[in-house]
């Protein structure tokens, strides 16, 4: 596959991930009570599967395949993308099967990466992939989302943690410090597994692990240093540090309230992790991932702090609404969460278009002269 064709394929798959994100956000709004005349085109029940598998499953498998540059690896994001379309068409069981197959293919990619470089961070990454396989198997098996969600969390947390562990080699943490982090990952896995026996105790263990992992990241992540840099580097560092802050809050909240199966506390804890932490990481990495997949640069602009601030302040409002059971506050916070994500995507799109136009103008000017 030559580079040009490959870029087209990558952008096409990126579009499917974007479709899953937008429909997942829409599904979330329907969950929050948006009433669509004649019924919603997207079921409120598929918000989680669309966000975890459709958006992040496709995106993560796409970036790994692009990194490997192996044709077979693209089967994972293709499978995830097809599953998303089928899920949106309402053919749930086939979509569940395809998400499971996509997850297995992603696990194969991550295992292959370990074969290439036998390092602890690749093991953690592969275990993250195994979490997605487990979650998707249970989803197909028919377990309710609240009984699956810990595995989907595991998928994202471990993939992100492994990337941080890899990058933070630059901080030269000692072997023992690296073992400590690996131990905390195992501790967290033990906690989420125990939730199937005793949901409260299991989640309490996972919460303690989450707090300790976040503290480890605060201490050893390069973000503490790169925050003194400029432009995207500084922006990424801010996103990372805020994300770690949400992990601590999620851990404390989990110790206090446990992991309920539904209701406002369930909403709060899930979104502290998925929005507060995971979306912070997405904001941090978008300026690297999008140029890498599309071949187009995204010029930095201070504007990007607007959606970042909006996302986190509205998440705080949403959680206050959850905590004190104030549905209007909760809804307004959640709606603003969606707005913040759209503003971020809009900013990326605007900068991409503006930069392309600028380059084509420069090219024309050069041709004339």
């Amino acid at each position: 596959m030559n580079r040009k064709t490959s870029a087209l394929v990558l952008v096409s798959l990126l579009v499917f991930a974007g479709l899953a994100l937008l429909s997942g956000l829409f599904s979330g709004l329907v969950r929050l009570g948006w009433v669509i005349e004649g019924g919603s085109p997207v079921s409120p029940l598929i918000h989680g599967p669309l966000m975890i598998n459709g958006f992040l499953g496709t995106l993560i498998s796409l970036e790994r395949s692009a990194a490997l540059e192996k044709k077979w690896a693209y089967a994972a994001p293709v499978c995830m993308a097809i599953a998303t379309v089928i899920l949106l068409l309402g053919i749930i069981v086939i979509a569940q099967w395809l998400y499971l197959v996509g997850a297995i293919l992603l696990l194969l990619i991550l295992t292959y990466l370990y074969q290439l470089q036998k390092e602890m961070y690749h093991i953690i990454m592969a275990v993250g992939g195994a979490c997605l396989v487990t979650g998707n198997f249970l989803y197909l098996y028919g377990l309710p989302i609240y009984n699956i969600i810990v595995w989907w969390m595991g998928f994202l947390l471990l993939i992100i943690f492994s990337e941080r562990l890899e990058l933070n080699r630059i901080m030269r943490p000692s072997q023992n410090v690296q073992y400590l982090f690996t131990g905390l990952v195992l501790f967290w896995l033990a906690g989420i597994t125990l939730t199937y026996v005793d949901r409260y105790s299991g989640w309490a263990i996972a919460s303690v692990a989450l707090i300790l992992q976040a503290l480890w990241l605060f201490k050893y992540d390069i973000a503490r240093r790169t925050i003194r840099s400029t432009a995207w580097t500084r922006y990424s560092a801010v996103c990372l540090l805020i994300g770690y802050g949400w992990l601590v809050l999620a851990g404390l909240f989990g110790l206090w309230k446990g992991l309920p199966a539904a209701g406002p506390m369930y909403d709060a804890i899930l979104h502290m992790i998925f929005l507060g932490f995971v979306f912070s990481m997405i904001f941090a990495h978008a300026p690297v991932i999008i140029p890498s997949l599309s071949g187009k640069d995204i010029p930095y602009h201070n504007y990007f702090y607007l959606p970042l601030i909006l996302l986190h302040s509205s998440l705080l409002i949403r959680i206050m609404g959850d905590l004190f059971w104030l549905p209007v506050i909760r809804k307004s916070g959640a709606h603003t969460n969606v707005l913040a994500i759209l503003l971020f995507l809009g900013g990326i799109g605007f900068q991409l278009v503006r930069n392309s136009l600028k380059k084509s103008r420069q090219l024309k000017a050069a041709e004339k002269s």
């Binding site: 970036e63 790994r64 692009a66 990194a67 490997l68 540059e69 991550l110 990466l113 290439l116 470089q117 390092e119 961070y121 690749h122 990454m125 890899e166 990058l167 080699r169 630059i170 030269r172 390069i222 240093r225 790169t226 003194r228 840099s229 400029t230 995207w232 580097t233 500084r234 990424s236 990495h285 300026p287 690297v288 991932i289 140029p291 890498s292 997949l293 071949g295």
Partner: protein
């Protein structure tokens, strides 16, 4: 070493110092990601690596290295070649670099490691 080749290497190293790892804010020369600048029958080959085989920035780096080489008038034919041997490690980061400098290291302050190969 041939003077013209030495000069071309110097220029290449200079432009590659403008290729910044966006997450670290450090250029790829100081990070030790550029292993060799070779000449093969008039063709310049830049051998570089990524920090890990699963590095999501791999394609970005390839594009940036090629764009940097394109900038140099005296380089007509070039290849940016990604290699995995030797495996990159933190020990390859150029010593004494002002790693978390603000702003990132300046282009006129480059190491002579690559140039003197």
């Amino acid at each position: 070493m041939d003077t013209s080749k030495s000069e071309i290497r110097r220029r290449i190293a200079r432009v590659l110092r403008q290729v910044i790892d966006p997450e670290l804010g450090v250029n790829i020369i100081d990070l030790g990601l550029v292993y060799n600048i070779l000449f093969d029958d008039g063709k310049v080959i830049v051998e570089y690596t990524a920090t890990t085989p699963g590095c999501p920035m791999r394609r970005y780096l390839q594009q940036k290295v090629e764009e940097a080489l394109e900038e140099i008038d005296s380089v007509k034919e070039y290849e940016a070649r990604l290699i995995w041997e030797p495996v990159w490690s933190v020990e390859m980061i150029i010593p004494d670099v002002d790693f978390f400098a603000h702003p990132p290291p300046q282009i006129d302050n480059y190491s002579t490691k690559i140039i003197n190969q």
